[in-house]
């Protein structure tokens, strides 16, 4: 019974609970117990008591793992940082509230790279997360805890956030589905900000149907988020079996990126063949400026972060270092509370915004960002969707890149351009390379999430990737 329950996708489980065939409490108990026995480091907090269970909502009472970056009232919310140790927000993030209201009770808070800065989850202030496919390897990041929890069957589904790949890359490395929505599709209110113009939250799930189901309950304009928008389509679940008539583009510049592993390349090439077999056309397209995406990203995101993280000063919440005067209190609190990568990015960002350097760095990076968005816009006049590998590599060993920030940053080289353009993209498992999952990324124009899910669904069925490490 237990393994049968565990093998249900979230959508399947919700269907049963909504039909009255399954008591959502049973699901809760199963996952709460598994989460409690987590030895991957995926969770940072779990509730002691079961919440009120209600299967009547569209999400059927199926419990949800929530990245620790989301503020939840009275629940520890640290964004993976020691500086917010003990912080319990006085309010709940809009996206979490909407999902709970739609019937997905919060199962726990998941581990992450500190303030979402990282691609391996090794930058967490509370220890790394292990990849359930190979516990000597990283799960990716920054939503590493959410990805590992879903892949290991420690949660039916999860939400994470993606600033420059933080949903898609860990989904790829853990062999699950991760959807980064259009910027503005989902409210950011209550997401502890990393880079405000890029941050978006989205689902990490076992399959595309689950992603579409969860995403459909997250969208909408929020009066608390001026950058959020009414979603222009009604939620729907994917059903496409073929890709007839669709045009796919393979961006030459991204595929020429150095460091794409042969195993990743092989899975990608097979996927492209499958796309054609399903009736779509595939052509090479140009995204001429996408090669500069990572450089622009590593100016813009740290710049915004340097301001977003300035509020952690020890005055009002989180830890406070004892010091003889105000300035030393600020300095000591931040020195003790922030990890190395966060400090590195605060320094990068502060520098990029400094008087005399602003135009050369921040200003220039904004121009590149505009060019990249223009590239995508032009590409989508020729093709419906763009396909790439999600990450150049499979999951790498713990510790392999901690001493080399640039190598770490390259993990997101294929994911960052979509973030800069604000467009949606999904990562689905394309197959295995040396026993490790490889993700394939599908990107579409703004607000094309349900079309992307349709295509991803057809492709998912053709790929037949049913593997999860605990099965």
């Amino acid at each position: 019974m237990t393994s049968e329950l565990l093998s249900l996708t979230a959508a399947q489980a919700a269907e049963r609970t909504r039909a009255g065939d399954l008591d959502p409490r049973e699901l809760w108990d199963l996952y709460r117990e598994r989460a409690g026995a987590d030895d991957l480091g995926a969770y940072l907090w779990l509730p002691d008591d079961a919440p009120e269970m209600d299967a009547s909502g569209p999400l059927g009472g199926v419990p949800l793992a929530v990245k620790d970056l989301f503020c939840v009232e009275d629940v520890p919310s640290t964004s993976g940082s020691r500086i917010l140790e003990g912080y319990r927000p006085p309010y709940t993030a809009t996206s979490v509230r909407k999902l709970v209201d739609a019937g997905a009770p919060m199962l726990g808070k998941t581990n992450m790279d500190e303030f979402a800065m990282g691609s391996s989850n090794e930058n967490s202030g509370y220890g790394p997360v292990k990849n359930p496919w190979d516990e000597s390897r990283v799960p990716g990041g920054s939503s590493g805890g959410s990805a590992a929890a879903v892949a290991a069957g420690l949660a039916p589904w999860a939400i994470g956030t993606d600033t420059g790949g933080s949903i898609r890359q860990p989904a790829a490395l853990c062999g699950i589905v991760g959807l980064k929505p259009t910027y503005g599709a989902v409210s950011r209110y209550g997401m502890i900000a990393f880079a405000s113009s890029l941050d978006q939250c989205g689902p990490l799930t076992r399959d595309v149907t689950d992603a579409a189901l969860l995403f459909g309950q997250m969208t909408g304009r929020d009066p608390c988020d001026s950058t959020s928008l009414d979603y222009p389509a009604d939620p729907r679940l994917p059903s496409a079996e073929r890709l007839d008539g669709l045009r796919f583009g393979v961006p030459k510049e991204l595929l020429d990126t150095e460091g794409i592993e042969p195993g990743v390349r092989a899975v990608f090439d097979t996927t492209v063949k499958r796309i054609e077999e399903l009736g779509a056309t595939v052509e090479e397209i140009a995204l001429p400026h996408s090669g500069h995406g990572l450089a622009a990203y590593y100016v813009l995101a740290p710049a915004e972060a340097s301001a977003n993280l300035a509020r952690y000063d020890g005055v009002r919440f989180g830890i406070r270092a004892e010091a003889p005067d105000l300035l030393s209190m600020y300095e000591e609190t931040r020195a003790q509370g922030f990890g190395d990568e966060v400090k590195r990015r605060i320094m990068l960002g502060t520098y990029a915004l400094s008087s005399g350097y602003y135009d050369a760095y921040y200003g220039q990076a904004q121009k590149v960002r505009t060019k990249i968005a223009d590239d995508f816009r032009a590409a989508f006049e020729r093709v419906d969707l763009i396909v790439t590998p999600t990450s150049p590599t499979t999951a790498f060993p713990l510790g392999a890149r901690t001493g080399d920030p640039l190598a770490m940053y390259l993990s997101d080289v294929l994911a960052v351009p979509m973030s800069l353009a604000g467009i949606p993209a999904i990562s689905i498992p394309g197959g295995l390379a040396d026993g490790l999952p490889v993700g394939v990324q599908l990107a579409g124009p703004a607000f094309s999430e349900f079309e992307i899910c349709d295509a991803a669904y057809a492709l998912e069925r053709a790929i037949g990737f049913g593997d999860l490490p605990w099965k």
Binding site: Y87, G190, C224, S226, T227, S306, A307, R311, V315
Partner: protein, 470 residues
């Protein structure tokens, strides 16, 4: 060769005015605006800068900003942008202030000959209260923060350096305050900090076009202190230049108890605010309809009121401006004028000079007094005495005249006094008859002395001429 000590210097002053808007709620959250309430009772996660919160602009504040811009003759930007101004300080919960930088809501206006460089929207900081002797953060034993004020909507108005004396600066600031008061966008109370005026001051040898090094003066919380502070700084800069020194660019704190200026920070300590566009907000793009609504909401402003007083009531320009630029007195004048429209000049003169704001006199009483003068019941001289009583104690002018015997001297009483004065000033009578008309003054003066000013000067002259046949 000219020596420095003999040189004449010309002050060049620009003002920066922070106006707290009288909206119901804060600039970027739904917290109620308050003054003088228990500390930290009007706060929420947004204005406390909690992790994960986002700002949402206050529509009313934008409308008020538009009204201010239009009233000052500014251009309204089609898409103005909020920036983050980064600095660490405990009064600044996010460690950045949301303000406007390179594209302000309003730019390029003018008020009474002083050009307005820009007017932009921003949010106020929290209030710090420092325990200890100094009253400032330096040397404080402890500091506490009241976040009730954090996030209050502000409009910052920046003038061009078009002002050339401290008195002119104070007078212009008064006009601006009255303009804002008339707009109904702010409480404009300098004591409570809803209107805060900083001055940028430099001096240069008279006649030169290049600007000298400027200093910024803060903490002048009344118009009187603004004038005193600017005068003190002008004098300080003159002193430095006359001794051959150089003014240093710095920000100065004016101590309104001692009148002393002390340095808050020098140029070297100046902040690098690392401005960049606030990614959590979209540009403000006011529609034509919004701009038209704001324009329609603008009432008669003090400058227009002064022109109207001058034109419709034949007031001298000076009194028209004095009345219009001090809104309360303008209102008093108009209320009195509604009761007694016959002699606006006399009325204006009394309102400007004799019944200061807050006096016990009512507009009706002052109007009635003007009527009594018009009817010849009270002389202008005696009226001054009635005004003193009105200002100090209030009351009814007729009653005051009756109680104090201030009624105009006339009839047999005045005739007898005139006769006596003629008899006692035979020399003057002779001179008048010789054609030295001004000699009549001596006889009039004698009558006025005798009547203690209760007689009408014109009436007295007429009586004298009748009697001596001149």
């Amino acid at each position: 060769m000219e020596v420095a000590s003999a040189r004449q210097y010309e002050p060049v002053i620009g003002l920066e005015i922070h106006v707290q808007l009288a909206t119901d709620t804060k600039m970027f959250c739904g917290c109620e605006l308050s003054f003088g309430l228990d500390p930290n009772t009007r706060t929420c996660p947004v204005c406390l800068g909690h992790p994960g919160v986002l700002p949402v602009p206050n529509r009313r504040a934008i409308e008020f900003g538009l009204m201010i811009g239009l009233a000052l003759g500014c251009e309204i930007a089609p898409r103005s942008i909020f920036h983050r101004k980064n600095y660490f300080y405990p009064d600044n919960p996010k460690a950045f202030q949301i303000s406007q930088y390179d594209v302000p809501l309003c730019s390029g206006g003018e008020l009474a000959g002083v050009r307005v460089h820009r007017a932009h929207l921003e949010e106020d900081a929290a209030k710090l209260v420092h325990a200890g002797e100094s009253g400032r953060i330096h040397g404080a034993e402890a500091s506490v923060v009241d976040f009730n004020r954090a996030g209050t909507p502000l409009v910052e108005i920046v003038t061009e350096p078009d002002i050339h004396s401290a008195a002119e600066a104070a007078e212009w600031a008064r006009l601006l305050r009255e303009t804002l008061r008339a707009l109904g966008v702010s409480d404009v109370n300098m004591d409570e900090g809803s209107l805060r005026v900083d001055g940028n001051v430099s001096i240069r040898p008279a006649g030169e076009a290049t600007l000298g090094v400027k200093t910024e003066l803060k903490n002048m919380n009344s118009f009187r202190f603004l004038e005193r502070g600017l005068d003190a700084e002008i004098a300080r800069q003159e002193g430095i230049l006359r001794e051959g020194g150089q003014v240093e660019q710095e920000t100065l704190h004016f101590d309104n108890r001692t009148g002393a200026l002390s340095s808050l920070r020098s140029k070297e300590e100046a902040h690098d605010y690392r401005y960049f566009p606030e990614p959590d907000l979209v540009p403000i793009a006011p529609t034509e309809a919004m701009i038209e609504m704001a324009r329609a909401a603008i009432p008669e402003l003090p400058l227009a009121r002064a022109e109207r007083f001058e034109r419709d009531h034949d007031l001298p320009a000076d009194s028209a401006r004095l009345l219009a630029f001090r809104g309360e007195q303008g209102d008093f004048f108009e209320a009195a004028l509604a009761v007694s429209p016959s002699d606006p000049r006399t009325l204006a003169n009394y309102v400007v000079n004799d019944v200061p704001p807050g006096s016990a006199a009512t507009p009706e009483a002052v109007a009635k007094l003007v009527d009594l003068i018009g009817a010849g019941t009270v002389s202008r001289g005696a009226a001054k005495e009635v005004l003193e009583v009105l200002a100090a104690e209030g009351g009814d002018p007729e009653q005051i005249v009756a109680d104090r015997g201030l009624g105009a001297a006339g009839g047999d009483e005045l005739g007898a006094i005139v006769d006596q004065a003629i008899a006692e000033n035979a020399g003057a009578v002779e001179k008048i008859r010789e054609g030295k008309d001004q000699a009549i003054g001596a006889i009039v003066g004698a009558v006025m002395r005798q009547t203690k000013g209760r007689a009408d000067g014109g009436e007295v002259q007429k009586l004298i001429r009748e009697r001596i046949g001149a």
